[in-house]
């Protein structure tokens, strides 16, 4: 006779844990984190008292040197709050598992007694079914415990602990070295692929997600793979604060503008302030999502979507060329994106929400024509653009079909676009370059490729002068599209001119729209116009 037992009962690792002690420890961490935030703020605020009693050219730097302490302790406090949320969730899961285990143990004891009274219990279907059900409960508890552990580990491993620079010689080399902008932070999240980022994010509890949004908006807003609406929320939440901070920083410089280096710093701050102001203006337009707003580098970088790409069937990504900056070109790019979206919807017969066009100003474009002779800027943008398009695919809701992604590169933008698409797994279906000085030579076979060049575009001179070795060619399956005035389905389209390709009603805009819409039958080929 075999013993009536339930395998695995009583050996779950969660049984050894003290859930209430973990909860208590978590509460202690939370309290400690709150005190830290207050203490850090007190250090920074008290230090500002120096302003009233000391004035000299180094005084502003001496006073502002302590500001990062308040900011970093606030960030550390937020990080600890996130950890405590993860631990609370974990303790609750353990507590619930232990309660379930007690209930299963009672049932198992009842089952053992019933089986003991029946020497032939193994031929009794109801007892066998009861044993099987108990066994299933034990297995489920084990796997639920594994899930709870994994979720807790994912949150803890993703928490950023901000640091502040310690070294520096601001007292002997002028003000500005202790710049809050130079606060560094590291996170394993930033090295994850967009797919893994999405898995991490969707595994978080709503409380943990809210905590991240509140404490790490810069990180969350910049992570490819996070849902677009979440990125938008995170990025928007930073704009007012950043604007206020930069404005204060600029105003603090005014008194010392007599030397050229200070003036340069003031102009730099003006540029950044203008960039944020431009982003805010563009976001007042309807149906916009701010998918990126990076203020950490020398150039402000941004990406604004017209519509929500997570739910779109057709996505267009516009990448600009020489001189494309957020402060100077975002508004125009966004207008072009809106008009292109409408045109693609019209050409493809899509509802508005089914087509989304994004202005991606996510790389530092060459500022001058001379700079545009170097591929360095494009190479620097290659990984960021590829990560962005991968993020578009990763952020789609579970079960949603993949969108068709078309990336358009204007002028120098043709280089980062083709370079990014060259990398494996870019998740790009079509590439269109217009007015480009050259391209990356090899694209994957499954990427359709089109190009346009207006007859009077001065870029033709750059192409002839051979700045870039590789040009679109039919040998490499590039398809040249018409830029001439044409009639399509009874609609008259005007000729593209100069270095402009996205002017509403032009054949060039129509052609890009037709590719985005996935209607190759509607594109007008070169020579057909």
């Amino acid at each position: 006779m075999s013993t009536a037992t339930v395998a695995g009962l009583g050996i779950g690792a969660f049984l050894a844990l003290d859930a209430s002690a973990i909860s208590q420890g978590s509460a202690n961490l939370r309290r400690g984190a709150g005190r830290l935030r207050d203490d850090g703020a007190q250090v920074a605020a008290g230090w500002k008292g120096l302003e009233a009693v000391y004035e000299s050219p180094v005084a502003p730097a001496l006073v502002s040197a302590m500001e990062p302490v308040g900011q970093v302790t606030s960030g550390m406090s937020g990080a600890m709050q996130s950890a405590s949320v993860a631990l609370d969730d974990y303790a609750r899961a353990v507590e619930s598992l232990q309660a379930r285990h007690r209930s299963v143990a009672v049932d198992a004891a009842g089952f053992s007694r019933a089986a003991a009274s029946r020497p032939d219990w193994q031929s009794e279907p109801s007892l066998l079914a009861r044993q099987k059900s108990l066994q299933r409960s034990v297995s489920t508890m084990q796997s639920d415990f594994e899930d709870a552990r994994e979720q807790c580990v994912a949150i803890l491993d993703g928490i950023v602990a901000p640091t502040v620079q310690v070294t520096g010689t601001f007292t002997t080399s002028g003000t500005g070295l202790w710049d809050p902008k130079k606060l560094s932070s590291t996170s394993s999240l930033e090295s994850m692929t967009p797919v893994r980022v999405n898995v991490w994010w969707t595994s978080l509890s709503p409380a943990a997600q809210s905590m991240y949004l509140a404490t790490e908006p810069r990180l969350i807003g910049g992570l490819d793979g996070i849902p677009s609406s979440v990125r938008d929320m995170a990025n928007r939440s930073r704009l007012d604060r950043e604007l206020a901070r930069l404005t204060a920083e600029r105003d603090a410089l005014n008194y010392a503008e007599r030397t050229s280096s200070w003036t340069q710093q003031s102009e730099e701050l003006d540029r950044r302030i203008n960039a944020i102001a431009t982003v805010r203006r563009v976001l007042k337009r309807p149906d916009r999502l701010l998918l990126n707003c990076d203020l950490t580098g020398p150039e402000v970088l941004a990406a604004v979507a017209v519509g929500n790409p997570d739910y779109a069937d057709r996505i267009g990504v516009l990448v600009g060329g020489k001189g494309t900056t957020v402060e100077g070109a975002l508004a125009k790019t966004d207008t072009s994106a809106q008009l292109l979206r409408a045109r693609a919807g019209m050409v493809g017969g899509y509802l508005e929400r089914e087509v989304v066009v994004i202005g991606w100003l996510g790389y530092a474009a060459p500022p001058t024509l001379a700079d545009a002779a170097s591929p360095t800027f494009a190479q620097d943008g290659q990984a960021a653009l590829r990560s962005f398009t991968q993020g578009l695919a990763a952020a789609r809701p579970s079960g949603a079909t993949a969108a068709t992604v078309t990336v358009g590169g204007h002028s120098y933008g043709a280089l980062p676009v083709t370079l990014a698409t060259q990398l494996p797994g870019s998740q790009v279906d079509n590439v269109v370059t217009y007015g480009g000085p050259g391209i990356a030579k090899t694209l994957p076979d499954d990427v359709s490729r089109y190009w346009m060049a207006n007859s009077d575009d001065l870029i033709r001179g750059v192409v002839r002068s051979g700045w870039y070795k590789y040009q679109p060619s039919t040998d490499d399956d590039w398809v040249e599209l018409s830029t001439d005035a044409v009639q399509v389905d009874g609609v008259g389209l005007v000729e593209g001119n100069d270095h402009n390709y996205l002017v509403d009603g032009t054949s060039t805009q129509h052609n890009l729209a037709a590719v985005i819409a996935g209607r190759p039958d509607k594109v007008v080929l070169h020579g057909q116009g």
């Binding site: 690792a13 969660f14 050894a16 844990l17 002690a21 973990i22 420890g25 978590s26 202690n28 961490l29 400690g32 984190a33 005190r35 830290l36 203490d39 007190q42 250090v43 008290g46 230090w47 008292g49 120096l50 009233a52 009693v53 000391y54 004035e55 000299s56 050219p57 180094v58 001496l62 040197a65 302590m66 990062p68 302490v69 970093v72 302790t73 960030g75 550390m76 990080a79 950890a83 631990l87 552990r149 807790c152 580990v153 803890l156 491993d157 928490i159 950023v160 602990a161 901000p162 640091t163 502040v164 620079q165 310690v166 520096g168 002997t172 080399s173 202790w178 005014n254 008194y255 010392a256």
Partner: protein
């Protein structure tokens, strides 16, 4: 705005000493949280415990950077102020009048700190 030179010696010393006290309190709070983290790690299993330990290591890095930063800023302030006041004293000696601890206003000279 012009970059003037003005120092209230007693006021500056007071701000620095209070800053030092605040920084020590912050440092002690950082230590307490670290100790609590240690305790909590001890309550956890062999999967979550190491994850919290990794977080603890990052946290320690942050805490150390904050601690060093506050100490560096306070020390730097002491040096700057000492330098400023001693320069004042030199100048006062030359001018035949005591300026130490008196509030002085103006742009008569630069202290001995290179810009």
């Amino acid at each position: 705005m012009d970059a003037g030179w003005r120092i209230d010696g007693a006021g500056v010393r007071d701000v620095i000493e209070r800053g030092d006290t605040d920084a020590q309190q912050l440092s002690s709070g950082l230590g307490e949280v670290s100790a609590t983290l240690d305790d909590v790690v001890g309550l956890l299993d062999d999967v979550v415990g190491p994850a919290l330990r990794r977080f603890d290591e990052r946290w320690q890095e942050s805490a150390t950077s904050v601690d060093r930063r506050t100490a560096a800023v306070i020390e730097a302030a002491r040096v700057v102020i000492r330098d400023h006041i001693s320069t004042d004293e030199d100048m006062a000696g030359l001018a035949g009048s005591g300026l130490r601890d008196a509030e002085t206003v103006g742009a008569r000279f630069s202290p001995r700190i290179s810009q």
